[in-house]
């Protein structure tokens, strides 16, 4: 039977490797397709160029990098306070019966397909922003609001885990020293779980940077450099999503090159999150 076991072991290994292989293939193709264009245009011109006019051979994605940053920052401005408040309430204050309803509801937020968020945003949020605040409504502000909600499940579930993983003695000690419940949370528990919370925020950031469908519907996709939160904008992901259908030649390669930049940003964010959560385990 040892032979059989080994065969099973090896075939499982093979199957497991194939998933890594797919990652490898995707990475390889993105770079293989994108690198020629980046070297043709020049890496600096590609990343810092402010004009994206593929029909004239102008490929500059700086407005999209800036837009991605703005949209993500806006999403975090909503997601972090809301997420942390939810986490603290769930972990420390919520009666168990209430948490049993609240927790699955938050997880359900992650299960809603992004196209539904997009549709809801387009029909409800966009007219609201347009009528109350001006501009076309299809704007960074609308996109950030929607993305903020989309990052909530990531931020809440991971930071709640890190709060719960703290040794109970931290809380008991603080309370025994006479600290109030809030002082314990704010001065002891949150600082102790800091690295996990930061990791959750970075993962939420990754989700925000990578979101495509909802953003195509809500951002308006203008290729200009945004000058206010009420301007329409195009992120790196939506640039690929909206133009891939018709792109060919250099244009298509430029979309792959956009993918390279996006890939590097996401890899950076995920590595940072893994590094931070490992450090937590170590200490």
């Amino acid at each position: 039977m040892e032979l059989k076991e080994k065969i099973i072991g090896k075939s499982l290994l093979l199957i497991a490797l194939s998933s890594v292989m797919i990652l490898g293939l995707i990475t390889f193709f993105i770079f293989e397709q994108g690198i020629p264009l980046i070297s043709k245009v020049g890496p600096l011109n590609f990343i810092l160029g402010e004009r994206w006019v593929p029909s004239k051979g102008e490929f500059g994605i700086f407005p999209m990098i800036v837009s991605s940053f703005w949209v993500t920052a806006g999403a975090l401005a909503l997601g972090i306070p809301l997420g942390l408040a939810c986490t603290i309430f769930l972990a420390e204050w919520s009666p168990p019966s209430f948490a049993m309803v609240l927790r699955p509801a938050i997880h359900l937020l992650a299960a809603i397909p992004s196209v539904i968020y997009g549709f809801w945003g387009l029909v409800i949020l966009v007219p609201l922003v347009r009528d109350r605040l001006g501009g076309p409504g299809l704007s960074i502000l609308s996109g950030s609001l929607i993305l903020g909600f989309m990052t909530l499940p990531t931020i809440i579930s991971i930071s709640e885990d890190s709060l719960k993983a703290l040794p109970p003695t931290y809380k008991q000690g603080a309370l025994a020293l006479g600290a109030t419940h809030w002082q314990t949370i704010w001065r002891v528990l949150i600082p102790a779980a800091r690295s996990g919370i930061v990791a959750s925020i970075i993962l939420g950031m990754g989700r925000a940077v990578g979101e495509t469908m909802a953003m195509i519907m809500i951002l308006g996709n203008a290729v200009q450099m945004p000058s206010s939160f009420l301007d329409s904008a195009r992120t790196l992901t939506t640039n690929i999503g909206i133009e891939m259908g018709y792109a060919s030649g250099d244009h298509r390669q430029a979309l792959f090159a956009t993918g390279i930049v996006l890939f590097l940003i996401i890899m950076g964010l995920n590595s940072l999150a893994i590094f931070l959560s490992r450090r937590r385990m170590g200490s």
Partner: protein, 321 residues
């Protein structure tokens, strides 16, 4: 009751199971040295090496699967063709395919979107039997055989609340290039103009660029939507927008403006008054033959053309000039 019984039996089996297994396991530890076993075990014996070999094996295997997949598809015997390309032509091609399949039971026509450029590429690479394009072929695509199946007008649309009914071409160019930024300059209330356009590479956009904008560039501040329907949606929601879509898709939620007094209508296209018109093309990589030709003949037949005319297109038989 039944459930309890089942559970008990399952428990019993679980308790019994470990014994025979243990015996077998210990017996087989002696047979480790069989030649067959050794051959299989090679990758595991030198760990780093083994991973590499397995990796190579998997890499070799994957293309094999990918390469044989399409070949297997070729062996299907049913008569069928694929038509792919422009999302503007797609809905009409679907109607035509339906009509054709009704007359030719047992045959299949698959209609796919993807865009004009993708359709032309698909025709050249044989990924599709027929490519659909909503723009004229570019000079470097001249080796292909384009056949005009119909003509379609592009209408400049605004919200029904917009009081402007008529715009001269120069003003349209001014608005879309971003030189005219406020509706006040175009003769309405003071409010920023929101320009909506199609994405780069779209056949509709390329036609609009060539026939209306000419050398002017569509402003980078324009909102970009990736389909006729999405532009109509945005324009119908916001009173201060302006966009352009296929005339056949204009409905009561948006208003098509006259251009220098000429209303976009099939009648005006036929007499050559409304010139913002583009061809809908079927693109072949060689002289059409077989079922692709049969389908093309149906499309160009009076029946097929009547079908297109009913949907708001101008039949290919009219010479527009």
């Amino acid at each position: 009751m039944n459930r309890n019984c089942g559970l008990r039996i399952a428990n019993c089996e679980l308790e019994k199971a470990p014994n025979p297994r243990k015996i077998r396991f210990t017996q087989n530890q002696n047979t480790q040295q069989s030649p067959f076993g050794h051959w299989i075990l090679v990758p595991g014996d030198y760990l780093g090496f083994g991973f590499l070999k397995l990796g190579i094996l998997a890499i070799l295997f994957l293309p094999l699967v990918l390469a044989t997949g399409p070949l297997m598809g070729c062996q299907r015997s049913k008569p069928e063709i694929t038509v792919a390309g422009s999302t503007s032509v797609e809905p009409f091609a679907e109607l035509l395919a339906e009509g054709y399949m009704k007359n030719h039971p047992g045959s299949n026509i698959y209609v796919q979107g993807g865009g004009s450029t993708a359709g032309i590429v698909a025709a050249r690479t044989h990924a599709a039997n027929i490519g659909m394009s909503s723009r004229s072929l570019l000079p470097d695509e001249n080796d292909l055989h384009p056949i005009t199946i119909a003509r379609d007008a592009i209408a400049v649309i605004v919200h029904p609340k917009n009081p402007l009914n008529d715009l001269p071409p120069a003003r349209i160019v001014g608005i879309f290039s971003g030189q005219i930024k406020n509706w006040k300059e175009a003769g309405w209330e003071s409010h920023p103009i929101v320009v909506v356009t199609r994405e780069e590479g779209s056949g509709t956009r390329e036609t609009f660029q060539k026939l209306v904008m000419k050398n002017e560039e569509i402003t980078l501040a324009a909102l970009v939507q990736d389909s006729n329907g999405a532009i109509r949606q945005v324009v119908s929601n916001d009173p201060h927008t302006i966009g352009y879509i296929s005339l056949g898709l204009v409905n009561e939620k948006v208003k098509a403006v006259k251009i220098s007094g000429v209303e976009p209508s099939v009648a005006n296209i036929e007499v050559g008054m409304y010139t913002l018109v583009r061809p809908f093309l079927f693109v072949f990589d060689a002289e059409p033959a077989g079922m692709a030709k049969a389908f093309l003949d149906f499309v160009l037949s009076p029946d097929g053309q009547k079908l297109l005319e009913k949907e708001g297109l101008v039949p290919a038989t009219f010479k527009v000039r």
